[in-house]
């Protein structure tokens, strides 16, 4: 599962399409536990990235950096800022390379998770996108088939956290009422990852 420049471009297309498809679902999920704009955030962000596609440099680190910038300019929503933070973390590590090696995936995602945690100051285990990334990083560390493992990890994360209360972001104020409900950010990450690995 080496990711080349072209691989990145086609992953962007798949993710952008998935976000258009999931627009209402993500707004609704965020509407139940937040302000209902996560579908807006994700479509806007992916459209902004798609628009820069032709200008993305061969340096895959620089390319991810530009994706992060495009996403962050498209809105100020928490999720957008967190995603951009994660992308920047990976971008820094990858700078100077023209592809991503499969065995580096786990480390890149763990690094992103940590930077995003610094940014959002939420604890791991708090039922946020951080937990999805944490599951991802751990699954990718050992898995043979990275794509299958990734798709399974985001599903498992959702399942494992569904019955816990939210403790970060706007969902925090719902406290125990959030038990049984999926975190919108984890749902978005599920869609993103499955689209990225073409398992949707």
């Amino acid at each position: 599962m080496t990711i080349t420049h072209n691989g990145l471009l086609s992953a962007i297309d798949r993710i952008a399409a998935a976000m258009e498809r999931d627009f209402d679902m993500l707004n609704a999920a965020d509407g139940a536990l937040g302000d209902g704009d996560l579908g807006v955030t994700m479509t806007r962000g992916m459209r902004a990235i798609s628009e820069t596609k032709d200008d993305l440099p061969e340096d895959i680190g620089m390319a991810l950096f530009q994706c992060a910038q495009a996403f962050t300019k498209s809105s100020g929503s928490s999720y957008g800022t967190l995603v951009a933070t994660g992308l920047m973390s990976a971008a820094k590590t990858l700078r100077g390379k023209d592809h991503i090696d499969p065995e580096d995936m786990s480390g890149l995602i763990a690094g992103a998770r940590d930077k995003m945690q610094e940014r959002g100051k939420a604890a791991l285990g708090g039922k946020t996108v951080l937990d999805s990334l944490d599951y991802l990083a751990k699954a990718l560390a050992s898995a043979e088939n990275k794509a299958t493992a990734a798709a399974q990890a985001v599903d498992t994360a959702l399942k494992d956290f569904r019955d816990k209360p939210a403790t970060a972001g706007r969902a925090r104020i719902f406290g125990d009422k959030s038990i049984g409900m999926d975190d919108p950010g984890m749902l978005a990450m599920q869609s993103v990852v499955k689209a990225a690995v073409a398992r949707h």
């Binding site: 209902g36 100020g76 800022t81 967190l82 933070t85």
Partner: protein, 333 residues
């Protein structure tokens, strides 16, 4: 509640265009990121810059308080949505007069992440930033988790006091310290009677029965401490004062300013009815009321309801509160 608008997507941009058309002596747009407003006449070289930001829909907060003796620049997002880090970085850039910039804003997750990120962006341009968060809403977390509280109308005091300190050409550390002192001296609580409508959502932020109110509700409709029958003005005012004074007791000889604020639709007539009790309760503590404010200082569009803010003052804070300031919504001195 009905709204006068064109397209929901254009609400904030058209609002800013009209604001600047009406008050070009106070405000100007800055940069390419959009929705960044700066003073029409920049601060003097060497003056510490003060920026704020947050979602739209709270006029005069945030943009309105850009002005002399107040803020230097402001980034706003869509209604009730954080501006982007890029906009905030632009606000910091235009606010910088070479002496560094204080980020002074309300404690909301998205805003915090974005202002932090904006700070990292401008670090590369050698702009030093400091941060003071407003977290004055006593209904949003208990005292032992005070750092989790949301920022509400108390920011008006922080803007005023920090702005006056910056105008005195204190350095960044000093302006930051007094802004923190002001933020620490503020306690607020709100009560909502009816919701507002976010243009892009097209429906009210919450539902509430015709004979109900909610004590402690947040300015975006965040759940409060109780919902129940609409009480009388005096009962509402007394409970709000009880909650504020429990969180920050006042003693004989203390000085305090108080802001009785409409969340939007509630008319000044009703604020004055409430003020009778506010004054009575403060007088009963033996504290002296300094420069009481009654009006619409921090709103949620057409939400109906009120908030009270106490700001406990020492010599320094009182002097800075009384110092001159000027913007399209507020003038002192």
């Amino acid at each position: 509640m009905k709204k006068i608008l064109n397209s929901p997507d254009a609400y904030v941009d058209e609002m800013l265009a009209g604001l600047i058309a009406a008050h070009s002596e106070h405000y100007q747009m800055y940069g390419d990121s959009g929705k960044v407003v700066a003073r029409a006449k920049p601060g003097k070289p060497g003056k510490v810059g003060i920026v704020t930001g947050g979602g739209s829909g709270h006029l005069p907060v945030f943009t309105g308080y850009v002005g002399q003796g107040l803020l230097d620049a402001c980034a706003v997002g869509d209604v009730f949505a954080s501006p982007s880090a890029e906009q905030m970085a632009d606000a910091i850039r235009v606010a910088d007069n070479g002496a560094g910039v204080l980020r002074l804003y309300g404690n909301y997750g998205g805003d915090v992440m974005n202002f932090d990120m904006a700070g990292e962006l401008v670090e590369f341009e050698d702009i030093t930033c400091s941060t003071v968060l407003l977290a004055d809403d006593v209904a949003s977390a208990p005292p032992d988790e005070a750092e989790k509280r949301r920022g509400v109308a108390g920011m008006v005091y922080a803007f005023k006091i920090a702005g006056a300190a910056a105008e005195e050409e204190r350095d960044l550390a000093a302006v930051t310290a007094v802004a923190q002192k002001a933020a620490d001296a503020c306690r607020s609580i709100g009560a909502a009677l009816s919701p507002c409508t976010v243009p892009q959502a097209g429906k009210p932020t919450f539902e509430i029965a015709d004979d109900e109110m909610e004590m402690g509700m947040g300015i975006h409709g965040e759940p409060g401490v109780w919902r129940g029958k609409l009480q009388s003005a005096d009962e509402i005012a007394n409970e709000m004062m009880d909650r504020l004074l429990a969180d920050m007791p006042l003693a004989n000889g203390d000085r305090v300013s108080v802001l009785v604020n409409s969340l939007g639709a509630t008319p000044p007539e009703e604020l004055y009815i409430l003020y009778r009790i506010v004054k009575e309760r403060l007088d009963a503590t033996g504290a002296r009321i300094i420069m009481p404010l009654v009006g619409r200082y921090a709103t949620s569009m057409e939400m109906s309801g009120v908030s009270f803010t106490l700001c406990k003052l020492d010599d320094e804070l009182e002097r800075l509160l009384r110092a001159p300031c000027d913007c399209a919504f507020w003038r002192v001195g």
